[in-house]
Every structure is written in C-alpha cells, then in structure tokens.
Symmetry: C2
Subunit: 315 residues, 2 copies
Amino acid sequence: MTDRYVAITGGIGGAKLALGLSKVLAADDVTFIVNTGDDFEHLGLTICPDIDTLCYTLSGLANPELGWGRADESWHFMAALDALGGETWFNLGDRDLALHVERTRRLKSGESLTAVTAHIAQALGVEHRVLPMSNDRISTVVLTGDGPLAFQHYFVRDKCAPEVTGFRFDGADRAALSAEVVQALHDDALAGVIICPSNPYVSVDPVLAVPGMRDRLRALTCPVIAISPIVGGAAIKGPTAKMMAELGVPSTAEAVAKHYRDVLDGFVVDRADAALAAAVEALGIASVTTQTVMLTLADRIDLARDSLEFLHRIK
Amino acid sequence: MTDRYVAITGGIGGAKLALGLSKVLAADDVTFIVNTGDDFEHLGLTICPDIDTLCYTLSGLANPELGWGRADESWHFMAALDALGGETWFNLGDRDLALHVERTRRLKSGESLTAVTAHIAQALGVEHRVLPMSNDRISTVVLTGDGPLAFQHYFVRDKCAPEVTGFRFDGADRAALSAEVVQALHDDALAGVIICPSNPYVSVDPVLAVPGMRDRLRALTCPVIAISPIVGGAAIKGPTAKMMAELGVPSTAEAVAKHYRDVLDGFVVDRADAALAAAVEALGIASVTTQTVMLTLADRIDLARDSLEFLHRIK
C-alpha cells in the first residue's frame, strides 16, 4: 500500500508547498484540504480565493507576479464595471471571472462545493484532489479596532490596515467536515498530515474550527507536522507577523508551533530560525531545520521532500 | 410647450430608428419604451437584450457588425467558460458582462428595472429616456412544432429554426406598466407614438400585452404610427417574415398594418411597397411612403424626420 498524505492549505504560501508536493507525489497520494473561510459573495458570485489560488497554482495557470488569479489575464470586465459605477475593490480578471460564474451556477443548481471544486479542478487540468474543508459556509471575520470585518474587506479592501484583536469563524459551529475530508483522514494508508506554511489565524484556524477536525487530527496514528510561515521573525508574505504583533504574540516560529501545539507532532523551521528548534522541542514537538523560503519550483519540491522525510522520521 | 414623443422599440431595427430620433429630438422630447419580453436569467445574470441594444446604440458603444453587444469587445470570459464546460450558447463579451453583473446586483438589492436601466443608461452616456415596458418580469415564449421555447432558446440557441405556431407572454397578466411609462403616455405635450420597425410578434406585441397598454394607446388624442419592418415581402433583419409565413400570414407590410390595426392611426411603408398604400388606407389607417431601409446614420435620421412629419400631418 502506497503511503498517502493530506496537506492542509490556504493562501499563497500553502499553494507553493502544495505545488511541490504535487510534483513528488502521485495524484492519488496527496489530498489537499483547503480553507474556505475566505469565501464570500461578491457581485452575486461565490468566490473561493484559496481554492482558486490552489487550483490555478497546481494547473500552472497562476499569475506568478500577483500571487492570485491567472497569468495572461485581461481586465476589460473590471474597466467596464468601473465605468458603470460598480464595486471594483476586488479585482476579477476576464478569464478568472468564468470560474466564479460557473461555480456559482453549479452551486445554485444544488451541487456541493466539493463536487463543484472537483469539476473545476479537473477542467483546469489539476490531477490531485482538492477538497474544500466543508460544504457548509464558514466565514472568517477579523475582529479589529474598527469593529468586525468580513475577511476580504479586511484583507483586500482595507489592505490589512486595521489593528487585529481576534477572529471569528461564523457558521463553524453549524458546519460539518465533508464526507470526502473525513474519508481522506480515515485512510488506512495515511502516513502523515502536513499543515502548509499558511497564515495560522486566517488560513489554517478556519480549517481546524470545523467541528471534528481537531479531534480527528489528534486521534491520528500518523504524525501531523506544520511548516512555519514565519522566518526570522517575519512572514514571507501577508499579514501573519503583523497579526501576531497586534495580538501580543511574539512573531516567531516558536509561537506558531505553540499555536498548533494540540494537534502537532513535528514542526519545520527555517535555517534562519535554527536557534528556535530547542524551544520547539521543549513543547514536546519534534523539529527539523531546512530551507522553507520557496523562491523557485526547485525550492517547493525540496521543501515537499524534506517535509515527507521528516514525517517518515517521526512516525 | 415642446412636442414630445414616445417610441416603442425592441431589437436592432427599432434601435436604428431610435438612434435617428435621438439625433433630431432633444433628450426630454422622446421617451423610448422598450420590450423586456426577451429578458432572461442566464449564468445567474439578468440579461435584457433589447434594453442593452438600445443603450449601446444610443451611446455609440454598439457593435455595428454583430448588431448586439459592444464594439471593441473581447471574449476571454467566454473562452475560459468554455474550457470549464460552462454554457456558452449565449455570447457575453468581457465588457458587456459588466453591465449584466451590475444590473443583476442592483436588481437583487431591490432597485426596480426602471431605476437600474436609468442608472446604466446614464453611466453609458445615454441622454434620452430609456424605459423598460414594465418592472414586472414578462417572458416571451415561442410556441413551436417542437414545443414551447423560451425566447432566447428559440432565437439564439436554436437560431429561429423551429417552426412557429404562436406566442405566449408569461407573466403579462400579472404585470403592470411602470409609473414612468404611464406618465410618458399621459404627457399633455405628447404629440405622437411611434412603433419602431421591430418584429411585431416578439418585440412589439409583448409591450402591447402589458395590461393597460393597448387601452392607453387607443385612448390617446395624438396619433400612433408604426413603421413597417417588412419591405418587399422580406424582413430587413431577423425572423419576422419567416414567422409570418409559418403563421399563415402573408409576409407583407399590409399584414403588419392589419396586425396593429386596433391601435394604429398611421403606417409608414417603404417605397418598394408603395403599391400597398391603398390597401393600408382601406383598413382606415393613414399611410406614407418613404425609404425605411436604414443603412447609414443619415437614413436613420431621415426616417425619424419622415415619421415625425407624418405624425404632424395626421394629427
């Protein structure tokens, strides 16, 4: 029986490692469970930024400069919408738009988000399995000094400027893991779970907030590891370090390990943070030091290999 | 008091004369009442083809080759939708799409179609008033040998191939004229109503099917005229002549005059049909002969002038 893996991901950092994993593991051997807390309704469309970033990344369609949307994109829709006085704070490329329209149509016709995602991933040429964490809507709300903000309002419209005081995952208490997610985590061949270097608060915590997820991860006989999204006290991309500072948490890899402590068996830190390995181990979490910064495809593949080796070593 | 006019229009032929009227009448002096029987929901969007054709025509944005949509259009959305296995029988350009998205958003937020249309027309630079015939949804159904077909399925998807046996205007019995339409037809300065050279069955009859419309036209003290969409036994564009043949009606200008007889005071026929003028007059309808084929902007303006002169002559 081939070893199989589950990777929990959200955002751009997660998609980078997911791409690496997809290059070293066969289509059947890794399942990606994706954050949907960023999902929102906009212009009548259901938009799932993390699913889309992952699908575009795995299919080779992603825009490498922007980090979201498609390469070779045009923006005629947005320009015309602007001229009509429409809402233009969230950029939607002409080609990208087709994905949101088709997903929305399918969801309205009664298909589950899991089924719609499978269809879209397949149509884009993604071979590996991409699973939304739940078919139920869970909406990340960022609590700030300016009041609660829907995630995309905080993240895109307000450019992460408001000071964060906490988070809420609306709908999580009534949500369920999808049957496909449960199955992936119940697989007898499951050899490990990898929490990708995504934002712990807004990319990974929404996944962990789906009822049953934490218990399931704790009950696994195979190890669960995470890769630190914090390197040398800073986030590679995005507001992770800023959020940690605002929450009064040290912006360190160690603090991320502590954040995940209840589900974690191992933690991957960057070479720049080698000095923190002992502190991580003191939490009862195995650690390994490697290059976690992924600038090239080779970096993504190397980190994927290192993560898999680490899982084998600590199983 | 300046004379004011109302023009009833739908489709491309109607939009051509409307453009001519907009060039010879000030913004306050002509109101366009537009067929909405073609409106439909597609990909989650509310699409109003006749309103859009008119707004794009009056704003100078229309695509002169296609006769619908915008000039200088791109089709990246459609190509991407096709790749995703979406429904692509109805073409939506990248820029055109913005209009449907913005309209749908505004309708869902509770604005009336009349208010949304006014906003869009203004944003596009249309100075004249464009009024949907009703704020209530009326859906033209084409009865055919293959069964009833939603209008756009008949017209676009099936390219008018099925043999027509009749028409139905679903929702018309529960619909009302908008307050703005009623006001335009109650205007003391109203000097005439022009039924544009549109398809009588699927562009004008839906307007006449809104409860109160026929009575209001009959009760007017100013004249109502129509311009024949049939010239020399053929339609300038579209399926009018084909429909007439399938319905067992002669494909003649005279038959169109007869079709509108209960509301009509005058009828404009093309020079090619000068021989039919006597037959039209025998119906108790005044007639005038002129060039109705509009190839150039000058033709559109000339026909607008001729129609207005005819209205003055028979008032």
